[in-house]
């Protein structure tokens, strides 16, 4: 059977990896290529790179980094951040990305999902969502979690999958950076609505959080940044621990 995936996420700004708490107060962490090598050695099942650079220079730097990572690390690479057009898909796929995640770009232009799925296949299109509870509703947020779109996140996910998104990354703004566990209530609500792989993001604080996540049906992967970057949790140890708990892991 398919192994559950452990996925470190690297937010890249101006060629460096950063990770903030609740999306603010970004801290410089390390060199992305070094970190990619480190995580590959440690047994990461996939790497996610988010380009959080706004400038053109930063974007060029990002694709250089991506190309360098993809020419020496041979596991699936997902790239997101600033993806708005088919040209953006093309640009990162040519540099060795396997999957491209869209977030605000799809909110601004939902047709990008259909168009990209038709051209590159559903498996290539990842719908990434930042979601927060507002008045008892799971609300979709845009622009790195700063802007409430007023859209029901679960409706959005269902629509995205219908249009060709082959995977969903659900980042709970409510649990992000809190390190008190994944947002299982939100994730369960999503699993009840869509039938594509779900990657949980936001809230992992320790190894037990991952065990709890994978005890829920429909969860395919756990994504985290700071707990891995800070070496608070070692991917190798985490995977051994999970296998010991009966979770299928690639070791």
């Amino acid at each position: 059977m398919l192994a559950k995936r452990i996925i470190p996420c690297l937010d890249v700004k101006d060629g460096r990896v950063v990770k903030g708490t609740n999306f603010e107060g970004l801290r410089d962490m390390a060199d992305p290529v070094e970190m990619a090598r480190f995580y590959n050695e440690a047994g990461a099942d996939e790497l996610v790179f988010y380009d959080i650079t706004a400038s053109v220079e930063g974007r060029g730097l990002f694709t250089d980094i991506l190309r360098q990572v993809a020419s020496e690390i041979f596991i699936p690479l997902t790239v997101g951040g600033g993806i708005r057009t088919l040209e953006d898909f093309d640009r990162v796929l040519k540099c060795g990305a396997d999957k491209v995640s869209v977030n605000s770009g799809a909110i601004a232009n939902p047709n990008i999902i259909v168009a990209a799925a038709k051209r590159y296949g559903d498996q290539c299109v990842v719908l990434s969502m930042d979601v927060k509870r507002v008045n008892g509703q799971f609300r979709l947020f845009a622009k790195g979690g700063r802007e409430d779109t007023g859209i029901d996140a679960m409706d959005w996910a269902e629509r995205g999958v219908k249009e060709g998104a082959g995977e969903i990354v659900l980042n709970s703004i409510d649990t992000d950076g809190v390190k008190n566990g994944f947002d299982l209530e939100m994730l369960d609500a999503l699993a009840a609505r869509v039938h594509v792989p779900i990657i949980a993001s936001g809230g992992a604080g320790n190894m037990e959080d991952f065990a709890e996540l994978f005890a829920h049906p429909g969860m395919d992967g756990g994504l985290a940044a700071s707990i891995f970057h800070s070496r608070q949790v070692s991917i190798r140890e985490l995977k051994r621990y999970l296998r010991g708990r009966g979770v299928e892991m690639r070791l």
Partner: protein
């Protein structure tokens, strides 16, 4: 020299990088003479069977591939492996190259548990059914990376390795004579995948 067949299908960045990282001389080519002079050929491919077949037809390379397949090791990867079979039923029936007996059908039709997701996408363990020089550096049970919705059936005599997905033993690696096929992506399967490519280069 390993020739990676260029017929306008898919992104070859990772495949070429992985071969080069192993120190293997690699050339992406759609040129008949280069395919003839290569020591080994890799037929890649992603996307739908019908459109890949049409592009392969348009490339004019099919007679060369059929000829060379008997002379030197050829490895089909993912859709490139599916093309090796007699036919596929993806969006209607379409003929393959007929290098390996069998056909390619929708995986979802054979899964008893309808909650299992299709595409079969992610890391699955590859069990060795029949030992082969391709597994020289590979241990049965190691994980490889799959992304596909169709799979090869009716090819029992050619199967070297399978991965279990629900009730289905997904055809993972096949061989007939000097023609090999891998449904998964060795170039995305980490160290285990690189070791399979290294073994292919030594065949």
């Amino acid at each position: 020299m390993i020739a990676v067949v260029d017929y306008g299908v898919g992104n070859l960045f990772s495949l070429v990088s992985s071969l080069r990282s192993l120190g293997l001389e690699t050339e992406v080519t759609g040129d008949a003479a280069r395919l003839r002079s290569a020591d080994r050929i890799i037929l890649p491919g992603v996307g739908a069977f019908g459109s890949a077949r049409a592009r392969l037809d348009a490339s004019g390379l099919i007679p060369i591939l059929l000829e060379e397949a008997g002379q030197k090791p050829l490895l089909g990867i993912c859709l490139g492996m599916q093309l090796l079979f007699d036919r596929s039923f993806e969006y209607g029936e379409c003929p393959g190259l007929g290098l390996i007996p069998g056909e390619v059908t929708f995986l979802g039709d054979d899964l008893a548990d309808k909650m299992l997701k299709v595409p079969h996408m992610g890391w699955n363990s590859l069990e060795i059914v029949r030992d082969d020089p391709l597994f020289k550096y590979f241990r049965g049970g190691e994980y490889v990376y799959y992304v596909h919705s169709f799979y090869a059936r009716g090819c029992a005599e050619s199967i070297l390795g399978t991965s279990q997905y629900g009730n289905v033993a997904v055809t993972g690696v096949v061989r007939r004579g000097t023609v090999w096929g891998a449904q998964f992506h060795p170039e995305k399967s980490g160290d285990a995948g690189l070791r399979l490519l290294r073994a292919f280069a030594e065949l």
